[in-house]
Amino acid sequence: MSKFLRSPWLEVNVMVFVLILSFAGLALIGWGAETPPGGMSGAAIFGWLFGFFFLSFAIALVAVIGGIGGGVLFTPFMLAFTSVDSLIIRATGLIVAMFSGLISTGPFTKRGLANLRICIFCAAAYGVGAFGGAIGAIYVAKHLGATGEGVVRLALGLILLSLAVYFIVGGKKIEWPEVKHVDNFTKKLKLSQPYYEESLKKVIDYPLTRAKWVLFAIVGVGLLSGFFGLGAGWAIVPAQNMIMAVPLKVAAANSGVLLGMGDCIAVWPYLLMGAIIPLFAAPWLVGQVLGGLLGALILIRVKAGFVRFLLIGFMFFACFGLLTKGLGMLGVIGNVPMWLNGAVFLAILIWCTRAILKHRKSES
């Protein structure tokens, strides 16, 4: 039987087929629909739905290649450059982050790269933090009005700036951490689970330590993720790797599984108060699932380190948009002129090009 008729290609083919039919149907219906007074035309709605899907699909693909989560790209971009309400964006951002994690759960758990015990242990704490963060976001949106919107954008801009710098510096991560002492608490949890490492062609068994400290770190990460609607892989991976000594590859796989699991808790306060609007969120969900699956099947072995620099450049530009928009909303500065936006974009583009050229040179 052809590989395209077997899992996972079979489900990818079914999804692509249904997607093509659906968008073809939407296009026909959209162009034929009568526009009610004060409403948006059917063609424009089709354009937005397709645009959302396409953007989400692209984000999921580059996220696989660049190793930067979809939520970190989606939320800042939408908050900086669209007029859509921040709570609606952050709620949808959580959908983006969680579905990219959910679709990776099956393959990672099947290969043994992800460790379900670690994920469940961390989710017990992450869920509490993320739920608190989501409730906090709703509270701020309800009680602080325009000031809250400005403060949220400013805070996210600063977080994004630190993240972009962190991604450049690389952070201190260890591929195979060494454990000198396993404490009693961690021992009792029996978290370790040996797996076969393809690249080394051998079985890796990894002792773990300091599990109770990870709990505190993960609650904080959950708070941030639930409040801002960001994925939190950038924090979950180093927390597991540096504190608990989880091997880097396992920590990265766990982060997807954990985000999918934990955000099932954080997302519901948004859903129950109406901030997740089905027709707005659906194409983002579809793009993440299909893009994540196809990316993992086709692009995972593509060596494209330069994409990482593009994403970091994009983060800097979104950061500039967030800070200026936030300051504008707080009445500190006026509208940013077009030429300044252009100049910043150009400066970032020059930096990206230089960084990519340098990276290429170091690779060859």
Binding site: Q193, V257, G260, W268, V286
Partner: protein, 143 residues
Amino acid sequence: MSPEERPTFSRAQIVYGQIVYWITILACLICTVGPVISMASVENNVANPHYLFASIFAGDDAQTVWNKVGGGFPGGHFWAKNFTKGDGFTQFGLALGCSVALWGLIVAAFLYMREKVYLYVVLSLWVATLVFLSASGMVSGGH
């Protein structure tokens, strides 16, 4: 190393992964078809898509969007009473996907029980309870 010599994983881990994977795909398919049903019959929606998108891009907050377009927010589980409507069906897909960990963890807890790994039975059920409480709105922080 032959595949037979490679370490095996707990059944709970494999089954959890498979449940999450397939339900996510099902949710994705529902969310692909849902908008088509919405646009095919714009009156057959809780919120008319023509006005819905206009309101979202006007920068209205969620409450205002629902008040303007849907006559008020019909509740977080409005899919249950509006399953045949375009946006009701799409919301069902979202709700299914957003509760997937609950179904996976219940089965994982059962399998951990059979494997006599009681600590993870408790932890799985704890996380599943958190999802359930959050999804049911029983714990909502007063919002």
